[in-house]
């Protein structure tokens, strides 16, 4: 990223420092004797892990960072040589390959082994197999937190009790045993109050994209904005400070009617406002972003930035009901919504954010997102009358990122929007 950009985004520097500190803490666990919990992003119990003084490690984040650092091809190859099918999720294979290659984290130091695997499998069946595979490698306990799917588009009382009772009767006792720390409801309440403050500011930032021009890119940029909230920092003062800082920066851009900051600096002209479904590609993230930025295309809302919670639709952690609110949080994540809910959400984004159209980035690795997306595409075109586009890539397998093919499709798609505009005005 250009120097000017880095200087402007103090929040980005703050986030970098938070992440660096976290990895530094992970590197020091032998001396600090802090316990390490591996878990997943959707429906994570970050406040609870932090409550017990433990440190979370998120294998999906390791995998996507490996993709961004150009390491995933090697790791996937290691996993495939070890017998993992070319057909399956490349996050899993990247993680397994990384493990076999020494489990070196982004700081260049080995990540510590887990003291506990928290299998909070929300919205993704592959998580189940992923941790069954990981526990073959580590001699540590596993806690399963079964989070029911919103098959009928609602969270019933029975579902809520099931999840909160598991947290009460299984997760917390195991956390207490591993960490040696007792659960303190009053302290948890304080943590959740911090969560809410950060959540409010994140929502404000996401909703800023309703403005023209949008001061943010809610997908490429959005993945940075959701970072602290979806990973290790929710419920901390650091997260509150980060989102306060971010909000001020975005307010500043709004006041100046500036577009989002892109890899090549602030975007000059907003030509296309798009809603996007699906995760990004990580191996060619910057190149991918430029394909949009060069065309003046801004993502004004995305589903991927909701995998760690639908705060923008009103959810906030409730400090007065810690276990119930954690259950609601887990079940409310985007990939835990059923298809009609997902489609309705995207439809509302297209309308609420005045999008010119919507795109689906269909990633090979993620059936949770991808299976059936073509129906969403048709349905959204029918409901909104706005053009839909479809591109295909993968999360971290560079073999499935064809830049020329994607660029061609995007160019055709932008031409289609132009044609519709001309048709509308003629």
């Amino acid at each position: 990223m250009k120097g000017a950009t880095a200087e402007k985004d103090a929040s980005m520097q703050k986030q970098k420092e938070m992440i660096a500190h976290h990895f530094s803490e992970l590197a020091r666990v032998k001396e600090t004797r802090k316990k390490v919990v591996y878990t997943f992003v959707p429906g994570n119990l970050t406040e609870l892990i932090n409550h017990f003084g433990m440190l979370p490690v998120l294998p999906e984040i390791n995998a996507l960072q490996s993709g961004m650092r150009g390491k995933s091809a090697e790791y996937i190859s290691i996993a495939e040589k070890a017998g993992h099918s070319e057909d399956v999720c490349t996050y899993v294979k990247t993680d397994i390959g990384m493990l076999r290659a020494g489990n070196i984290g982004p700081t260049g130091e080995p990540l510590p082994k887990p003291d506990l695997l928290l299998l909070s499998y929300t919205g993704c069946f592959t998580f189940l197999k992923w941790f069954e595979l990981l526990r073959e490698e580590y001699d540590c306990p596993v806690v399963m937190l079964h989070v029911p799917y919103q098959g009928d588009g609602e969270i019933t009382q029975e579902m809520r009790e099931y999840v909160s009772n598991q947290i009460r009767d299984v997760v917390i006792p195991e956390f207490e045993r591993v960490s040696g720390v007792k659960y303190d409801p009053d302290r948890m309440k304080e943590q959740l109050q911090l969560s809410v403050r950060a959540e409010d500011d994140l929502v404000w930032v996401l909703n800023s994209a309703r403005a023209r021009p949008s001061p943010i890119d809610a997908w490429f940029g959005g993945v940075y904005y959701i970072g602290p909230m979806f990973t290790s920092f929710r419920g901390t003062q650091d997260a509150v400070d980060y989102y306060t800082m971010l909000r001020e920066e975005v307010q500043d851009r709004l006041d100046q009617k500036l577009g989002p900051v892109t890899p090549d600096g602030p975007m000059r002209e907003e030509k296309y406002r798009l809603v996007i479904e699906g995760p990004p590609n990580w191996t060619s993230f910057r190149e991918f972003w430029r394909m949009f930025a060069d065309e003046g295309a801004v993502i004004v809302a995305s589903s991927y930035t909701k995998v760690g919670g639908l705060y923008d639709r009103g959810f906030r952690h409730n400090p007065d009901d810690p276990l119930g609110t954690m259950a609601d949080y887990c079940m409310g994540c985007y990939t835990n919504l059923n298809f009609p809910q997902r489609t309705a959400l995207l439809e509302s984004y297209i309308n609420d954010f005045s999008a010119d159209g919507f795109l689906i980035n269909s990633v090979k690795s993620c059936n949770s997102f991808s299976a059936g997306q073509l129906l969403i595409l048709r349905e959204l075109e029918k409901r909104t009358g706005r053009p839909g586009g479809f591109i295909e890539s993968d999360l971290v397998d560079p073999r499935y990122f064809s830049a020329a093919n994607i660029k061609n499709r995007l160019e055709s798609y932008f031409q289609m929007i132009e044609a519709r505009r001309k048709g509308a005005t003629s």
């Binding site: 070890a82 017998g83 993992h84 099918s85 057909d87 399956v88 999720c89 899993v92 299998l119 499998y121 993704c124 069946f125 592959t126 189940l128 197999k129 992923w130 069954e132 595979l133 526990r135 073959e136 399963m144 079964h146 029911p148 799917y149 098959g151 009928d152 019933t156 029975e158 579902m159 009790e161 099931y162 009772n165 598991q166 009767d169 299984v170 059923n338 298809f339 009609p340 809910q341 997902r342 489609t343 269909s362 090979k364 993620c366 059936n367 949770s368 991808s370 299976a371 059936g372 997306q373 073509l374 129906l375 349905e379 295909e392």
Partner: protein, 396 residues
């Protein structure tokens, strides 16, 4: 051939043909015919692997297993809903559904097994808005007070919904009677499975498979009678024993192999003595208690007496040992992993099971298929080479 033997063979052939005609009945004519015999009769389709069919039965409806279209459906619309890297089963299921060939079903249950089947449930909600569609969240916590309690609430919800369709309330007594009917079916299927285990030449793989599939179309009582008759007759048929190896097959629990693939395995010199085909048909291994709380019995059956499956969390961490024990109990010489392409649960499970076999010194081979695979020569060569190697060198 004596007259008695000829009559036995003829009757076996008739049973096999009947089962095959049900397998071929992609338009669910048999289901429509069953429904036509009573105005309140309803049919509930379900996807792999497992749903508690006893509840559907107790509500006076017919459970119908929807296992895809195999190689007998030309996919025209189905491919337009799924990317190339999604398995084949949902394509044929959608093809049949949007083509009106599942119209005999009044509702659909989608058990939790993988993200594709999960999403398919929502697609059905959108594509078939007039039909009852429900995602069955099977518990992954196996504590009675947690997963068991949740599962009971889930089952009661299904019972209420299907009861509303049929107008028949699922009372405890009705459910107990259904448990008893399925217990008899479990007994019959165990006889069939044990015949395969002990005398695989008596029950060809194809017949065995078609009998399992027939249970997904017929009323349970009729299926039980069919299986019992087949097993009794097969024991008297004097079918010749071939010089085949004994194999266990894993990976085929959801998208089913085409019949040609099953024929190929046997022709390549493999008796399939243990498998996970049509796994939901015998998912609960033990008979369920018909005297106590029937909901508890169903919950206990799933949580503590069901077969291992890639979609079920291995909470007790006994996956390796259980698998090796099972292979040895069934006296399999080796294992064939045959999973559908792009099947995440099966293909992610496979390295773990292979490691267990390696540690136990049990040979295995692996390939992939899809339900519409049409070329079997390569598979025949691979399975044949595996069989020959085991015959020549055993486990060496």
């Amino acid at each position: 051939m004596s007259t008695a033997l000829a009559e036995t063979s003829e009757r076996l052939l008739a049973l096999s043909r009947r089962a095959e005609s049900l397998y071929d009945d992609l338009d669910l004519k048999a289901v429509a015919e069953w429904k036509s015999r009573g105005r309140s009769r309803k049919a509930i389709g379900f996807l792999p692997i497992y749903v508690p069919r006893e509840i559907i039965h107790a509500a006076g409806a017919l459970p119908v297993g929807l296992m895809g279209g195999a190689d007998r459906v030309e996919i025209v619309r189905g491919d337009s809903y799924f990317q190339s890297y999604i398995c084949h089963l949902p394509r044929s299921v959608i093809e049949l559904a949007v083509g009106g060939r599942m119209d005999a079903c009044d509702g659909f249950l989608f058990p939790s097994i993988c993200d594709v089947i999960r999403n398919l449930s929502g697609m059905f909600k959108m594509l078939l808005p007039g039909k009852y569609v429900h995602y069955v969240d099977l518990p992954q916590n196996f504590d009675t007070a947690l997963g068991g309690r949740f599962y009971k609430s889930e089952m009661k919800l299904i019972a209420r919904d299907i009861g509303n369709l049929t107008g028949v309330e699922v009372t405890d007594d009705r459910l107990r009677a259904s448990l008893a009917a399925y217990n008899e079916n479990r007994v019959a299927l165990r006889r069939l499975l044990h015949a395969r285990r002990d005398r695989p030449w008596e029950v060809p793989t194809l017949d065995y498979y078609l009998l399992l599939r027939a249970g997904y179309m017929l009323p349970v009582e009729e299926h039980t009678a069919m299986v019992n008759e087949y097993v009794e007759l097969a024991a008297q048929a004097g079918r010749p024993r071939m010089d085949n190896i004994r194999v266990a097959v894993r990976g085929a629990f959801c998208e089913q192999p085409p019949l040609g693939l099953l024929r190929t395995l046997e022709r390549a010199g493999c008796y399939v003595v243990d498998d996970d085909f049509v796994l939901g048909s015998r998912f609960i291994e033990q008979d369920l208690d018909v005297h106590g709380d029937p909901w508890d019995a169903l919950a206990q059956g799933f949580m503590h007496h069901s077969l291992p499956a890639a979609s079920k969390y291995d909470q007790r961490r006994t996956k390796h040992a259980d698998f090796v024990k099972r292979v040895r109990d069934y006296r399999a010489d080796g294992v064939i992993f045959m999973a559908p392409s792009f099947c995440d649960p099966a293909l992610l499970e496979q390295p773990m099971l292979q490691k267990a076999l390696e540690d136990a010194g049990i040979p295995f081979t692996a390939f992939k298929y899809s339900e519409d695979t049409g070329q079997f020569q390569v598979i025949r060569e691979q399975a044949g080479t595996f069989a020959d190697a085991l015959k020549l060198w055993g486990n060496a």
